[in-house]
Amino acid sequence: MISCAEAVRQLWEYLDDVIPETERVSVEAHLARCRRCCGELEFARELRLTLASTANESIPHGVLRRLHETLEELEP
């Protein structure tokens, strides 16, 4: 079985689904037996959501208006 350190190092790649198949199997085998790393996994998942949540920020009206103006003025 891989160590906790190895499992943790690959958790984000595992969540991102960019991990090679053999490593995915060994991470899952580790998670099946290690509660602490399951906690790490849950936390990594939440942390990703926290990072993604910043995608909903609203754009100030003045900014949006000025950007639209730039687009409108592109042609002479």
Partner: protein, 195 residues
């Protein structure tokens, strides 16, 4: 379907492609260059207009515009040669926010301290944490985790090898964890709850 049309045709095309993308481009820029976001998007629109004939396929407009924006953001950094402080990499590589929170136990009466920790962070806080990380790592983080691009798409945008982008994502995630903790400590996000 690509025709190098008149200037008016090209302006019409960029308007059509960029119109819906403006809020998204602005949000990305906010996370990469902070207060200069509006200027970066303005740069991006002008540059996209100049280069519109290089865009072969309108369905690729989303990543094409993002790529131009990212490069406009990087130009802003280059011209100012500013660089956020960066912690030593060795120290960062071993850092685990999960373990740090468990060890320091900032919310002693909580049975979900990890979630309580994250709940302290509003959008502005997360943005401030991101801005503490060098843009080298911040840009891939923003594009992948905020905007949902694949690492290989980011590699194409940055004109960097995939392995480089993956390594920067890895290091960027560690830096993000570390800076989340430092930000929370400095801003008293931890103290307020324990009080």
């Amino acid at each position: 379907m690509v025709v190098a049309g008149s200037r008016a045709d090209r302006a019409e095309r960029i308007r059509r492609l960029a119109h819906e993308e403006l809020p998204r481009l602005y949000r990305i820029a906010r996370r990469i260059v902070g207060d200069e976001a509006e200027d970066a998007v303005q740069d991006c629109l002008l540059k996209a207009f100049q280069k519109i004939d290089q865009l072969q396929d309108d369905t690729a407009a989303r990543s094409w515009l993002t790529s131009i924006l990212v490069n406009c953001c990087r130009d802003r950094y280059r011209s100012q040669s500013r660089r956020p402080d960066e912690v030593e990499f060795d120290e960062v590589e071993e850092f685990s926010l999960y373990r740090k929170i468990a060890y320091e136990d900032p919310f002693p009466y909580s049975d979900s301290l990890h979630l309580d920790f994250l709940a302290e962070f509003g959008n502005e806080d997360v943005r401030a944490v991101l801005l503490r990380i060098s843009e080298l790592y911040r840009i891939p983080l923003v594009l992948v985790y905020m905007d949902g691009f694949l690492a290989r798409e980011v590699a194409a945008m940055l004109d960097a090898p995939l392995g480089t982008v993956l390594a920067r994502l890895h290091r960027g995630r560690k830096l993000f964890e570390k800076q989340m903790w430092e930000y929370a400590s400095e801003r008293g996000l931890l103290r307020e709850v324990t009080r």
